[in-house]
């Protein structure tokens, strides 16, 4: 996806706002990561390393006290919600319950508002008070340098845990790994099972993956990780399972099940390093069992997806 990925989200904005954003020079919008909308407040644009507010004159400013900031009207907020949901909120009840809507192109709109509860669980969100449109970026080939580190001497893929803090490229790395393994770039093609609980990896919309995940990738979308992994194991005979942000005991059980079936799992977890991960009992247990043969540490040091370290846990030393 190119630097103009942000243009794909303009149709989801009301015309009045769209006109202002479309008039901005492309170089000002380069690196745009998020658009945050709240009724009665200025439109906030978040970039790689900075933030800016939109003015009524169609400029960007970082001064929160500046005159003429473009405030979002309640009607514009309502229209944005309808545009995000194709004027069909009833068709997005599950997405509203989860708090986000996946958009064409794999972008995502996070929603906040008044939660309606049923039996203690969120049934839906009403009176939407905040929208955060996050622009998805697929960086083709970002996982290419990583791939040789994840196979053994017999070219078999090894179970891998990718660790990184938020916004450091875990999802991008997992997605690109799925694509490379599935399409057989660098190694012979593999059948990939992708469990995409939060619709971030493949960004499925109407049954179509909005981001490239490879020819031989089967996607279980919106499915709890453990159930999704077991389901794929039973029904799709994958060579490798990929999922993000494991941490529950059910995930560990599914991971062990996959290992017993001879299927490598590539998973991710929030954290800065292995020590931080070991503070979480389920992950500590998995590491103690040697469930992962490779650990990858990512950061944002040179942009999202910077590979800091690849190593084999248990003292085998750094691979890269």
């Amino acid at each position: 996806m190119c630097d103009t990925a942000y243009q794909q989200i303009f149709p989801y904005l009301p015309q009045s706002l769209r006109n202002l954003l479309e008039a901005l020079p492309p170089e000002q919008l380069r690196g745009l990561e998020e658009i945050r909308l709240k009724p009665g407040l200025p439109v906030l644009l978040r970039f790689d390393e900075s933030e800016a507010l939109l003015t009524s004159a169609g400029n960007l400013t970082s001064d929160q006290t500046a005159e003429g900031l473009r405030l979002l009207s309640p009607d514009e907020m309502r229209r944005t919600v309808l545009l995000l949901a194709d004027s069909s909120l009833y068709a997005f009840e599950e997405e509203l319950r989860r708090g986000y809507i996946t958009l064409n192109g794999g972008h995502r709109a996070g929603l906040t508002g008044r939660a309606v509860l049923a039996q203690g669980a969120i049934r839906t969100i009403k009176e939407i008070s905040g929208i955060n449109i996050r622009i998805a970026r697929h960086i083709a080939g970002v996982a290419l340098p990583l791939l040789p580190c994840l196979v053994d001497a017999q070219a078999r893929l090894l179970p891998t845990l990718i660790i990184s803090p938020p916004r450091a490229g875990k999802t991008t790395m997992l997605r690109d790994l799925a694509r490379l393994l599935s399409d057989g770039v660098g190694i012979p093609p593999l059948r990939v099972g992708l469990v995409d609980e939060r619709s971030e990896l493949a960004a499925m919309r109407n049954g179509i993956a909005q981001l490239p995940v490879g020819l031989r990738t089967d996607v279980m979308d919106g499915c709890p990780k453990a159930e999704g992994m077991l389901l794929l194991l039973r029904s799709m005979s994958p060579d490798v399972l990929i999922t993000d942000e494991i941490g529950r005991s059910e995930d560990a059980t599914a991971l062990r099940e996959a290992a017993h079936a001879g299927v490598a799992v590539i998973a991710s977890a929030h954290g800065c390093d292995e020590a931080e991960i070991r503070l979480r009992p389920v992950l500590a247990g998995l590491l103690a069992e040697n469930a992962f043969r490779r650990i990858v540490i990512l950061s944002r040091r040179h942009g999202p997806g910077t590979i800091e370290r690849v190593y084999a846990p248990g003292g085998e030393g750094d691979i890269a």
Binding site: S87, S88, Y90, A91
Partner: protein, 169 residues
């Protein structure tokens, strides 16, 4: 010969007018039945199948026969609209097709607009059920009018033509 031809033409014209008036009553009943079929399709598409509203309206238009214009206009408006709600598109379509509906029928159909596309599935279904119930009431009135006045108009066409001929002769 001229008198006979003139009389025949008068009779044809009067019978035609009577039949036309009766056909209008029959047409109204059929249009209401078709509108109900469209609403049923919309309810199915948006409730059970949960398809996007514009697609649901397009399918409903295909199944709505004589009332297709209402659903089609709503769909077109929705697709063109800048974050327009389903209710707004529906009310616009109702205005654009006002010549098809009596005031009562338009009021019954306007019940569809409440929350269309902007409410959860359950609420939307309730509004559609309500609209169909009100439309069923309109149909009963229209069917009653057709039963009462349809035959009357047809008979009046013949009788009126005959009377006019006799008067002119």
């Amino acid at each position: 010969m001229i008198v006979l031809t003139g009389g025949l033409l008068i009779l044809i014209a009067c019978v035609g007018a009577g039949r036309y008036a009766a056909a209008l009553l029959r047409e109204r009943c059929r249009r209401l039945l078709d509108a109900d079929a469209g609403l049923l399709a919309l309810s199915r598409e948006t409730g059970y199948l949960a398809v996007p509203l514009a697609d649901g309206l397009a399918t409903a238009a295909q199944e709505a026969g004589r009332a297709a214009a209402l659903f089609q206009t709503a769909q077109d408006t929705l697709r063109r609209g800048d974050g327009i709600s389903g209710g707004e598109a529906w009310m616009y379509a109702l205005q654009q097709t006002a010549q098809l509906w009596t005031d009562n029928e338009a009021a019954a159909l306007s019940a569809v607009a409440a929350g269309l596309g902007a409410a959860d599935a359950e609420t939307q279904k309730k509004h559609l059920v309500l609209a169909r119930q009100r439309l069923a009431g309109c149909y009963r009135v229209a069917a009653d009018a057709e039963a009462r006045y349809g035959k009357l108009w047809r008979s009046m066409g013949w009788a009126g033509g005959a009377v006019l001929i006799l008067l002119l002769i």
